[in-house]
């Protein structure tokens, strides 16, 4: 039985096809300014990759900030529950899930059954989401994908005072003028976002094992900063940005089975 999980994120829409707990296809499409069109495109591409037609799919569940835009979905699930389902399937020992996407950061506490016990979300402030790194990359004139590796080359951290992404933009420019090494500023940027994510996670309590998912888990600089801050090893799945889509697919599977 084939099911689809679709995650309509702020920056990318992800579609994932699951067949009997196995991932058949996964696709990521830029959300742009039309999440509805992006959702359709993601679904079509995923079906094509899996060699399936729409009628071969038993159920589609949508999640993500723009989940209402996936008009073809038959049910929806919150991002928090989707993350919990996916991570509990992949790593049953995980009790704390941290998910950092483009415009949201989440910390979720789950029990051994994968049930959500507590969670905290930031969706109000860019300083605690992936957009922060993107904004700083622009100010530093560094390619987004180079930010992480560059951060690892830093020898020392320079202090950054600004918390707000808008203020941090000017601060970064003054740090460049003050002749600080670019890699040290990049490290400061990663430490700054880490500080916000770590304190949000501490609010719900950090219990082992800790998993990191979402697009920001692909940024090695952020991963390094977060490990240092939490003083914890982090479990990161392969393709961490598909966590919510995978969780939604599991939800679709349950629905299709009449759950």
């Amino acid at each position: 039985m084939n099911v689809v999980g679709i995650d309509c994120g702020a920056k990318f829409v992800k579609a994932l096809i699951l067949k009997d707990d196995k991932v058949k296809a996964k696709i990521s499409v830029l959300s742009g300014f039309g999440q509805k069109a992006a959702a359709e495109e993601a679904l079509d591409k995923a079906l094509e990759e899996a060699g399936l037609k729409k009628e071969d799919v038993a159920h589609i569940t949508a999640t993500g900030a723009g989940k209402e835009e996936a008009k073809f979905a038959r049910s929806t699930i919150t991002e928090v529950r989707a993350d919990a389902k996916a991570v509990n399937f992949l790593f049953p020992s995980v009790r704390t899930i941290i998910d950092v996407g483009a415009e949201e950061g989440r910390a979720i506490k789950v029990n051994e059954a994968g049930k959500v016990v507590d969670f905290a979300i930031n969706e109000k402030c860019a300083a605690g989401a992936g957009t922060f790194i993107e904004t700083m990359a622009r100010a530093l004139e560094v390619k987004l994908e180079e930010m992480g590796p560059m951060s690892l080359k830093s020898q020392k951290s320079v202090p950054m005072n600004a918390q707000c992404a808008v203020f941090a933009e000017s601060e970064v420019v003054s740090l460049i003028h003050a002749k600080h090494a670019k890699e040290d500023i990049v490290r400061a940027v990663h430490d700054a976002i880490t500080d916000r994510i770590a304190s949000m996670t501490r609010r719900i309590g950090v219990e082992k094992d800790v998993a990191l998912v979402g697009g920001m888990a692909l940024n090695v600089g952020f991963v390094d900063s977060l490990k240092r801050d939490l003083m914890q090893e982090l479990i990161i799945p392969e393709d961490p940005e598909y966590s919510c889509a995978l969780g939604a697919a599991f939800a679709a599977q349950e629905k299709a089975k009449g759950g």
Binding site: F33, E103, K124, A126, A165, F167
Partner: protein
């Protein structure tokens, strides 16, 4: 070079009625803010001259520049000033100031002079912060709240929108009323998120005036929350750069159902003016008059 829409006009002013040579106490205040700097010079407590310029990269240089600009064309020289007080974000870096006093105290004192002793609540909307101040009839601070962590509700937020919409900063207020109907406020608090929300609205075909109206009311709403926490007591006055933006001011007034007092001077000089008044009092104290 691209046009910098956020860049507001810099200028100076001096009184033609006052002869500083007849003055007994010449006092000055310099407010080095995060975005703009002001210098005010008083002759026996009367406004003699002032200037308002963009803060440069260093506080000492910015302080000197704004002082030089205030003195320009007045034939008063800096060595004749008896006492200078520094205030604002860069107050400890005003080399020629004898003392530094916090901008909260200076704003309240300055607003008391500018708007009269009936002022009890001051909203200072600066370039990178926003303060709600309560004071007594002498302009002494009784309570205050401040946001300096987040760009929402500060001048910087407005500058970001001025650049995004290619509207000169001084036209933003007027244009924000050129809408048939007041739109819903922008839903994001964060300036970065509000900016992407605005880009989405523009793509949907919203004219820039409507986007501006939606952002101006979101900004008004944000500062009203701060004011409500400190409780507004009349009379109410707004200082700082945003006080010149009628689009925000009128929306704050509408939400509070309180009218702000009409400013008699440049609303951005309140901090420097307060500092100059403190400087005068300090001279009097030194001379044993206070």
């Amino acid at each position: 070079m691209e046009k910098e829409y956020w860049r507001w006009p810099e200028y100076r002013w001096s009184s033609s009625d006052i002869d500083w040579k007849r003055g007994d106490i010449i006092s000055a205040g310099v407010d080095v803010g995060s975005v703009s700097s002001q210098a005010v010079i008083l002759v026996d407590g009367e406004l003699f001259c002032y200037s308002n310029y963009r803060t440069g990269s260093g506080s000492p240089e910015s302080a000197q520049k704004v002082m030089d600009k205030a003195l320009e064309g007045t034939n008063l020289t800096q060595d004749k000033i008896h006492y200078t007080v520094g205030t604002g974000y860069g107050r400890v870096n005003v080399p020629f100031a004898k003392r530094a006093i916090t901008e909260i105290a200076c704003h309240a004192r300055g607003a008391n002079f500018m708007y009269g002793p009936t002022v009890r609540t001051i909203l200072d909307m600066g370039g990178q912060d926003c303060k709600a101040i309560r004071c007594d009839d002498k302009g002494k601070v009784t309570n205050f709240l401040m946001n300096d962590k987040c760009a929402a509700g500060t001048g910087r937020g407005m500058e970001v929108f001025s650049d995004l919409l290619s509207v000169p900063i001084e036209d933003m207020g007027r244009l924000s009323f050129e809408v048939d109907e007041e739109p819903e406020p922008v839903s994001s608090i964060c300036v970065i998120f509000a900016k992407s929300e605005a880009v989405g609205l523009l793509r949907k075909g919203w004219p820039k005036e409507k986007v501006l109206a939606a952002y101006s009311s979101a900004m008004a709403h944000r500062v009203v929350r701060l004011l409500e926490r400190i409780k507004v007591e009349k009379d109410f006055a707004i200082t700082g750069g945003i006080a010149k933006n009628e689009g925000v001011v009128k929306r704050i007034e509408a939400e509070l159902k309180i009218k702000a007092l009409e400013p008699q001077h440049d609303t951005q000089i309140a901090g420097a003016l307060g500092a100059a008044l403190f400087a005068k009092a300090l001279v009097e104290k030194e001379r044993g008059l206070g």
